[in-house]
């Protein structure tokens, strides 16, 4: 425990504390958990990127329907393969912490739901979102008709400028009317 904590010197620690919404304990705990994912031979590299498959093994993410999207959104790697280095990992925890603001959470939620990364939620994105959240099960999954009606309802409610897609501001407007969002958009290590 002492060895891992000392690898994060106090300068870096205070920088992390200032730039994220996490407290010192949360940062140290995150460092601990991240360190376990790094293989032994790479432990000395500062900016080692943990590949996506290893991140998805974390118990907090293992059964989350959005786990791949989360890795892709928070990853800053050039190869766009969803790998996270420690800075990205802290970014992810900061956005999902309980002191993050509504704007941050809704911004990242929008990008997580935007499956094709085009900056808006169109019908395809909404369809993938609904499938992600309702699971691919047997007889009781939604029929194409129901899917269409559901997407129509969603667009009717949230598409204010009526261009057929939901952009970031419209999404944030809908979210602001949903008081459960902030407390449910949380992951704690």
């Amino acid at each position: 425990m002492g060895a891992t904590a000392s690898q994060l010197d106090t300068g870096k620690l205070s920088e992390y504390e200032e730039l994220t919404f996490l407290t010192k304990q949360e940062i140290l705990l995150a460092y601990d958990r991240f360190d376990k994912l790094v293989p032994k031979e790479e432990k000395n590299r500062i900016d080692y990127r943990v590949p996506m498959e290893d991140i998805l093994e974390l118990p907090e993410l293992k059964f989350n329907p959005f786990k791949e999207r989360i890795c892709k959104v928070f990853s800053t790697s050039d190869k766009k393969d969803g790998s996270l280095d420690f800075d990205d990992f802290l970014d992810f925890l900061s956005a999902f912490s309980d002191s993050a603001t509504l704007e941050i959470k809704s911004h990242y939620a929008f990008h997580i739901f935007d499956f094709d990364d085009d900056g808006t939620l169109d019908r395809q994105d909404l369809k993938k979102l609904i499938n992600c959240l309702t699971g691919k099960a047997d007889k009781t999954s939604l029929t194409p008709d129901e899917m269409r009606m559901l997407i129509d309802n969603i667009l009717e409610e949230s598409d204010i400028d009526q261009d057929g897609t939901v952009n970031l501001s419209e999404f944030q407007h809908v979210i602001s009317r949903s008081p459960d969002f902030v407390s449910s958009f949380q992951i704690v290590l």
Partner: protein
């Protein structure tokens, strides 16, 4: 500030969703230039702020960590350049002070997190059962903090001086086991109850008036509770009710409230299934807006009316039976003879009759209410829960009301050689203990047995769900008993602390072993507001009125307690004020007391002013609602403008490549408005 700077690239891209590939290069260069410009503007803005605001602003930027670090370094570089030009020691001093405060706030945040009770257990519960069940446990923890505070305050200000001084209690009763249940017997003459406290002023170098201490400790604690409740109610109400459209159970809300903290595989699959069912339901509600025939409507209203009549009759019946039971107890008491300070075992056991019947009613009658609930037909789920909560509250309040009436009117008029406040304190102690026993029993029957029936005997029923509303109501009722009992038994919060502690672990075990995650997701935040509201309005206000009535109007007993010999408890303050008049320089305090606190005109004026302010705010809200509608209409119109201009752009692009670059640039400018 950062509204126009947030999500710049994304906004740009969303304006050109259908841009053809030929224009992409031009678009990319333009975007990159604008982005660099905006970054420079951002840095300039950040430099202009104070350090505290700067840190907060950087933290709230929606960029990746690398970029935030870059911006921060740029801002720091800018600042050090600026500093070397204009050095003022005052600026540096204020810098250091704000840095110090920031470090302090970080350490306080970390410390608070380290001390947090039950953090691991709460996370486990939230992960497996979702946030609506978690609200019960968080509410329990919150109430526990109230009680810990109350116990600490009461113990240090009231009990410790008395113990130091040496209690002057004569008691010749030995300890029998039954005391733990009845609170009478050995406990009667201990510091547990009002009767043991003396009315003297300790002189030990410093004067300490025990009478005033007792009065003010209780009053200050109740006022602090009221303030804490008001603030949490107001903030919770603002967050969860004002902006939310209460009638919407829309698909979007359901989708956006996916609980990210769920970690169990089974829970996630179950939650997905429930969501699917709920989405289908919401679709079918919209698709077939069933128009009920007149006959059906009449039938539904008839059933509603009938069940309300029966519930009210049940409640009235319970209240009446408690009333007669109290009268019977009064008769028994007068039979045993007044002035009897020690009772036989059987007599003490008989005092347990009333609490037993009260708790039994609180356990059984709600079952009838949920039966009526099943028979009735509701338009939506929420009004179903609300009506059930209202009926339960009505039941408990009427039973408590009858008991308080009995205590205030009959018990306080008993023989003056007795200590009636201690009697009331003991009655409340018994209620608290028996309530605890019945809570445990309720958990056993409600959850354990129901689980056994659901999984082994009658499979389709399945394991039970954790009934958050009923459990929270039990907690609120228990806390009300503690609040009422505070005046008569200052150390009652210690029992309450033990009770809540044990209850937490009991409920946690029962939850994990017996219950399944809830079927209907969501509405956790609104339910929490309702609970705080319930805690405040009927129960807290009721408790404080009882204590206020006791202090203001009733005669304290003549032979025991800190207010013996006075006409009413409030006279303590009057005497103190009269004594203060002799002190020089305190004329203003006495003036305030005489003319403001004791006069009725003051309260009348305050009420009028508050009503006027409320009316003004209400009109403001109406005006804002109209503004919101107007703005929404404007956005729709802007959207139409945008699509018109985009169509025009695409038509122009189709008409020719050369002409286009010039027009294209012009058009980009206009549509980037």
């Amino acid at each position: 500030m950062t509204v126009r700077l947030r999500g710049l690239a994304m906004r740009r891209m969303s304006i050109f969703p259908h841009a053809s590939p030929a224009d992409v290069d031009l678009t990319e260069i333009t975007i990159r230039e604008e982005m660099e410009n905006d970054e420079q503007n951002l840095v300039k803005e950040l430099v202009g702020m104070s350090t505290l605001e700067q840190t907060r602003a950087i933290r709230e930027l929606t960029m990746s960590f690398e970029e935030k670090r870059n911006i921060r370094n740029k801002v720091m570089a800018f600042r050090s350049v600026k500093k070397s030009h204009e050095f003022t020691w005052f600026a540096e001093l204020s810098e250091n002070v704000s840095l110090f405060f920031r470090r302090c706030s970080y350490t306080m945040r970390s410390a608070r997190q380290a001390l947090e009770l039950w953090h691991g257990i709460m996370k486990e519960i939230g992960g497996k059962f979702g946030s609506s069940v978690l609200t019960y446990f968080m509410f329990l923890k919150w109430l526990l903090l109230f009680n810990i505070f109350s116990f600490v305050v009461n113990f240090s200000f009231i009990t410790v001086p008395l113990l130091v001084y040496g209690p002057n209690i004569t008691s010749n009763v030995s300890f029998r086991g039954l005391e733990l249940l009845t609170g009478a017997g050995y406990f009667t003459h201990t510091v547990m109850y009002y009767g043991a406290y003396s009315n003297e002023t300790l002189r030990h170098g410093v004067e300490y008036n025990l009478q005033l201490a007792y009065f003010f400790t209780i009053v200050v604690y109740m006022v602090l509770c009221g303030i804490a409740l008001t603030f949490s109610m107001a903030s919770s109400f603002k967050k969860n009710f004002v902006l939310v459209d209460p009638a919407s159970t829309s698909a979007w809300q359901l989708l956006c409230s996916w609980d990210f903290s769920l970690t169990g595989e089974k829970t996630v699959t179950q939650r997905k299934n429930n969501l699917r069912v709920q989405l289908k339901e919401s679709l079918s509600e919209k698709a077939q807006q069933k128009l009920l025939t007149l006959r059906e409507k009449l039938k539904h209203s008839g059933i509603h009316l009938g069940s309300w009549l029966v519930s009210t009759a049940l409640v009235a019946g319970c209240a009446a039976s408690i009333f007669f039971l109290c009268q019977y107890e009064e008769k028994l008491f007068s039979q045993w003879g007044p002035g009897a300070s020690s009772f036989s075992l059987q007599q003490e056991a008989e005092t347990l009759l009333v609490p037993f019947v009260v708790s039994l009613m609180n356990l059984v009658i709600p079952l009838f209410f949920s039966l009526f609930n099943k028979l009735e037909h509701y338009s939506n789920n929420r009004s179903q829960i609300y009506i059930q909560v209202v009926r339960n509250v009505l039941l408990r309040m009427s039973i408590l009301g009858v008991l308080c009436y009995h205590w205030m009117n009959k018990v306080s008029q008993r023989e003056s050689s007795l200590c009636w406040e201690s009697m009331v304190g003991q009655a409340l102690y018994r209620l608290v203990i028996v309530d605890f026993l019945f809570l445990m029993l309720g958990s056993f029957f409600g959850e354990f047995l129901r689980n056994v029936i659901g999984t082994k005997l009658h499979r389709p029923l399945g394991p039970p769900e954790f009934d958050v509303a009923r459990n929270v109501l039990d907690l609120i009722y228990a806390q009300t008993l503690a609040w009422i009992g505070l005046y008569f038994s200052p150390l009652l919060p210690s029992i309450q602390i033990l009770k809540f502690f044990i209850l937490f672990y009991l409920k946690k075990v029962s939850l994990t072993q017996n219950c399944q995650p809830p079927c209907r997701t969501g509405r956790a935040a609104q339910m929490q507001t309702i609970f705080i509201f319930l805690l405040f309005i009927p129960f807290y206000v009721g408790a404080i009125s009882i204590v206020g009535y006791t202090a203001w109007s009733l005669n304290p007993s003549q032979n025991c307690g800190p207010f013996r010999g006075l006409d009413r408890s409030f006279s303590v303050v009057e005497l103190w004020m009269a004594g203060l008049q002799t002190l020089p320089g305190s004329g203003w305090a006495v003036w305030i007391f005489e003319n403001i606190i004791k006069s009725e005109i003051f309260y009348f004026l305050i009420t009028l002013i508050i009503l006027a302010i409320t009316y003004v705010f209400y009109q403001l809200i109406q005006g804002r609602k109209m503004l919101i509608d107007l703005l929404k209409q404007r956005i729709v119109n802007e959207g139409k403008d945008k699509s018109f201009l985009l169509d025009k752009l695409q038509n122009l692009q189709k008409s020719g490549p050369k002409k286009d670059t010039k027009h294209g640039r012009v058009c980009y400018q206009t549509s980037s408005l």
